[in-house]
Amino acid sequence: MVFFVYGAIAWNFVISLTGWEGLGAPSYDSLSTEMYTRLLFDPSFHAAFRNTLVLLIAFTVLSLAVGLLVAILLDQQIRFENTVRTIYLLPMSLSFVVTAIFWSWMYNPRIGLVNEVLRSLGLGGLTQAWLSDPQFKLAAIVFALMWQFSGYCMVVYLAGLRAIPNAQYEAARIDGASTLRLYWRVIVPQLRASTMSAAVVLVVFALKAFDFLFVLFGVNPGASADILSVMMYRVAFDRIQWAYGSAVAMVLFAMALGVIGPYLFVQYRRGEL
């Protein structure tokens, strides 16, 4: 395992220092950071980097918010809780390939469900060509990914809510706090650990969202929706610029490390490892 994962990352780093392109084997004779300088001046890298950040943040925040809301609703001793929870989590068991196909149909500009619903609500003016208009592409992706993963946030938050003793709700009631205040001031702050662990997993899913975009757009999502994981695949496996692709992959790895490093550190300090 350690060889496959960490050995491969180290190897990937070395490859990113070569100038390896095209067919044939890499030459490890002269190593340089040329590929990284190239990244700095590549406009398509800038676009992909920016989109990746936007996707990360928007997707994580939106999924957490929806997941928290649903978890609070589910935590009111409702009937059929298990059934409802199972339905909410269902999208997560599906492959990105499957969900991307569903959403390409949902977003169909003429006869897709999204625009149909908007028209039937009298909001026909809001219909868009969601997946081809550069202005809405990324937002449409974020929304679809939220659909797929907010159920996951719900599961994490529900476990967090169940761990909060009943007495706290009652105490806040007696103090005359409104429901909204109760949740905002008393309950949500205690869910910090749930938020953090869910956010880490979401960020990693977003970094891996390659499959979803690849099915929708192939290797060229266009500057408005290109993300690093797609760019890496395009550069390395489509244009066979292996070294350059490896450099993009190292950036992606550094981003993942930037998120999980602090998380693991906190977990370690709390003695939860």
């Binding site: 395992m1 491969a8 649903v70 999208p91 492959s95 469900l113 659909w147 709700y169 099915v215 695949y233």
Partner: protein, 294 residues
């Protein structure tokens, strides 16, 4: 939890806020099911049918057909078989290795344990892109078919490579899942066995493994879905079309029948069928696997 949080009954005896609560929950059910439902309805329509009706409407009489399903099965059939050949062994092996690693990291004491554990946990979160180029290099260097001149290896080389890769990258998450479970095993019991002279291997086989049945269920189900659903490793590591797994086949089907939404939807359901069945039967275990990832 606390009913007080949900408001009090109104005078007419109907709890208004409860009704609103159920309405909101139902709306969310519709939201999560809408793409699946309109996909399913569309899969049973003729091209005219899906162009002229609302996506979620049931197929009108005369526009109902199962043609799309037949074509989808034809196109994806060999992909389904290949995915099963690849995913089942990979799932079982990664769970087994994960269980062993978790036992070593939890119930045995040795130096450097925490460091290795950190590597395992971090391994869960690594973006696969960071290892793709070396992986293709590695497998072309290993050249299984060239080294092992057996016809089965030659025929399924891509699937074997893919399967082994999934095992390697599945072990970290399996280890994490097993570890949180093994941490709850009573240490005194293991200690007693140790004092009776049982070796670490015997303790694992006689005590830990039999206790692991529930967590094996969780891990197997979660891993199976993950491995079945993957596209990235499959497109990079498998080049032989006869070894194509179902996610790749589905992606190609989508690319070659661009406007035929009924066929695309039927294909999506065919490819998702095993995971859907597993999810419907073992949703509880899947949820536990999901929660355990944190």
């Amino acid at each position: 939890m606390s009913t007080e949080a949900t408001g009090r009954p109104s005078i007419i005896g109907v709890d208004v806020s409860r009704v609103a609560l159920y309405a909101a929950l139902l709306a969310m059910v519709l939201f999560y099911l809408a793409p699946l439902e309109s996909g399913l309805a569309t899969a049973f329509k003729t091209p005219d049918g899906f162009r002229t009706t609302t996506p979620f409407a049931l197929p009108p009489l005369g526009e109902f057909t199962v043609d799309a399903w037949g074509t989808a099965f034809d196109r994806l059939g060999s992909g389904l078989v290949n995915s099963a050949l690849m995913a089942v062994p990979a799932t079982v092996l990664s769970a087994l290795f994960g269980s062993l690693a978790a036992y070593g990291l939890t119930n045995l004491d040795w130096r450097g344990q925490v460091g290795v554990l950190l590597l395992f946990v971090a391994g869960v979160f690594i973006p696969y892109q960071a290892v793709l180029v070396p992986l293709t290099q590695f497998w072309s260097f290993v050249d299984l078919a060239g080294r092992l001149p057996i016809s089965a290896v030659d025929q399924y080389e891509g699937l074997i490579n893919l399967s082994i890769t999934h095992v390697a990258y599945g072990v970290p998450i399996c280890t994490v899942l097993f570890r949180s479970y093994y941490a709850t095993i009573d240490d005194e019991m293991l200690e007693a066995a140790r004092l009776d002279g049982a070796s670490a291997a015997t303790i694992y086989r006689r005590i830990v493994l039999p206790l692991s049945v529930p967590i094996f269920a969780v891990t197997l189900i979660y891993q199976f879905t993950q491995i079945w659903n993957d596209l990235l490793f499959a497109i990079v590591l498998v080049s032989d079309p006869s070894n194509q797994v179902v996610t790749v086949a589905l992606n190609q089907l989508q690319g070659s029948f661009v406007q035929q939404y009924n066929l695309q939807m039927a294909g999506a359901f065919v490819a998702a069928l095993p995971t859907l069945v597993v999810y419907v039967l073992f949703g509880e275990q899947f949820a536990k696997g999901v929660a355990g990832e944190t």
